[in-house]
């Protein structure tokens, strides 16, 4: 076996609103179930991000928390070095917005400059996107292609030429009601749904681990997770069909 895999959970006190810690739990367990050793490094503002991390996780948070987090991450600089090293980054919801070029906060729509790790920009949308979301992961097929989660965001995100959308929306709002969801550039993945996202979408969890480890991982069999996926997809589609009628 190889070296210990380090999962870095960034500013949980600011960006941990929607069970985002769960993404770290899922990654670490999926490594352990395959016999990999892993370590969780939870970092709070004022403490440096480790330069040894393999996966960096950012989650959801309120406006003020976003501003504090982006300021601290810029001052720290560690996340830029991590991306340069080829470490994997998963940024969810508010975390997704702050890794972009810019986002707005408050009712006055104050523009805040982001980390610029993804070529996206976010402004306040016409209606808040709240509800179950199903999207189709671009470039994937089979059961794994369906991504299921819960989105809750007021900001709408537009993608620039430097990124590709992660998925296409089947039900929900996604980036900005334009049919796209999330964004990908290199080893950086941004997405709106939580749930948390990796608990409901184990293939995405494994994809992130494979990006970080630069190797393929053998599949894991957990029927309960597949059962949850089937149940979510079925129920969300059914209630969507009902409300559309």
């Amino acid at each position: 076996m190889s070296k210990r895999v380090e999962v870095v959970l960034i500013y949980q006190s600011l960006l941990g609103l929607y069970g985002d810690r769960g993404n770290a739990t899922v990654l670490m367990k999926r490594l352990a179930w395959r016999g990999y050793e892993s370590v969780l490094t939870a970092v709070e503002p004022g403490h440096p991000l480790p330069d040894t991390g393999d996966v960096y996780l950012l989650g959801g948070g309120e406006d003020a928390a976003q501003v504090t987090a982006v300021r601290a991450l810029k001052a720290d600089g560690g996340l830029y070095r991590a991306v340069d090293r080829g470490a994997a980054v998963l940024a969810v919801c508010a975390g997704y917005q702050i890794v972009g070029n810019s986002f707005t906060v408050g009712y006055k729509d104050e523009v805040i400059s982001g980390l610029g790790l993804l070529d996206i920009s976010t402004t306040r949308g016409p209606v808040r996107a709240v509800g179950e979301i199903i999207s189709r992961w671009n470039g994937r097929d089979g059961n794994d292609q369906w991504l299921t989660g819960f989105e809750n965001h007021g900001g709408y995100t537009r993608l620039g030429p430097g990124v590709k959308p992660l998925a296409s929306v089947e039900i929900g709002i996604g980036n900005c009601s334009d049919g796209s969801e999330g964004a990908v550039a290199g080893t950086v993945i941004g997405t709106y749904p939580h749930g948390p996202i990796l608990a409901r979408n184990p293939a995405l969890a494994d994809h992130i681990l494979e990006l970080a480890l630069k190797r393929e991982l053998e599949p894991l069999v957990h029927p309960e997770i597949n059962k949850l996926r089937r149940q979510r997809l079925r129920r969300v589609r059914r209630s969507h069909a009902r409300s559309a009628r």
Partner: protein
Amino acid sequence: MSISTARLSAATYAGRLAGAASRLAGRGTGASIRGKVMLKLDPSALSKLLVGKRIAIVSGTNGKTTTTHFLAAALRESLGPDANRLVHNADGANLHHGLASALSEHPEADIAILESDERVVGDLIKLGRPEVLVLLNFSRDQLDRHHEIKSLGRSWRTALTQAGTAGPVVVANADEPLVVWAAMAAKEVVWVDTATTWTQDSSLCPECDASLIRIQPDPRSGQDADWYCTGCGLARPKGDYRVESGTIVDHTEHVWDPQLSVPGVFNISNAACALAAAELMGVEPRTALAGMRRVTSPAGRFATARFGTTTARLLLAKNPAGWAEALPLAQSQTVVLAIDSAAADGRDVSWLWDVEYERLAGRSVIATGRRAQDLAVRLEYAEVDYRCIPDLGDALADHPEPVDVIATYTPFQRLRKMGRV
């Protein structure tokens, strides 16, 4: 009879009819529909019903039902044979229609002890001119509806500022930064050091958005919980009342052993807030505590019920802070956890991942409710032994030993009905 009171009487009567019809149809207590019909026929029913009463309001994310029961019991104890002078929304219906419904059932009462939803506090301050307002805590809950807990705190602060000297005396939890910030707008505050340990929902200063420094209590070194802002002067106020190793120290430094009938250290914190409020309403602490000890299962919480041959204790937990309190109380070898995502539970169950279900390792868990499968996956990752039995009745069937059940709001209400508690 003036036109205004005639309208209220007609609305009350119509509401009662609707409530009775709903009850007969087996749709619950009918309290909510009663209030809805009343407010439809007389939109000012709530403010009319509040007029001329001495009022105390209790609000916060967690513990408001139990705290309101404590406070009502304290006042009843002091009223003795006149206890029917008091009206209390005991069933926990705490929105406008629930409040109107409860008040209309006891029009003769001149003291109202009311639990209020966080969103209704501002209206009650305006409409009812309460004497006392108890503010317990704020934590993430139903985020699909309340996107920012700070906006709730801001609404309390605004209402208190606008009320000025006509506003209530506030009893506030000094350990909760957002509660403190809101309460500071009141004309007078009684601070309660509740020894709260949940700090995950307040990392930024509500006044200036700078980071808060939080110090966890450590009984070994004698370190008390503390917090202060690194940007402005906001800091934890000194408690007038304090919770200290299971006792309540009042503002005269008298130490009371609460000896409550309900379990949990968090209920000692709730009792400390109720004790402070009761004193403001003119009840002696000894009398107040005697009343509070009679509270055993407020609106079904902590009640023991029978489900066929199974004996089960019902615990309610609605959000990560509530689960952090409830999980240590669940001591049975088999624990039943009931999860739903109806509107009243919050449609988003991502909070399951903010609860430390790992604590249940070594126990056998039954996951039930409409979102049992989401919990099953959470337990799979927590490596806790579980069985997934979505139907509540099946999940509770045939347990030879008593079981503890922790449920979110909707399954909790169903279990109360099934177990008649």
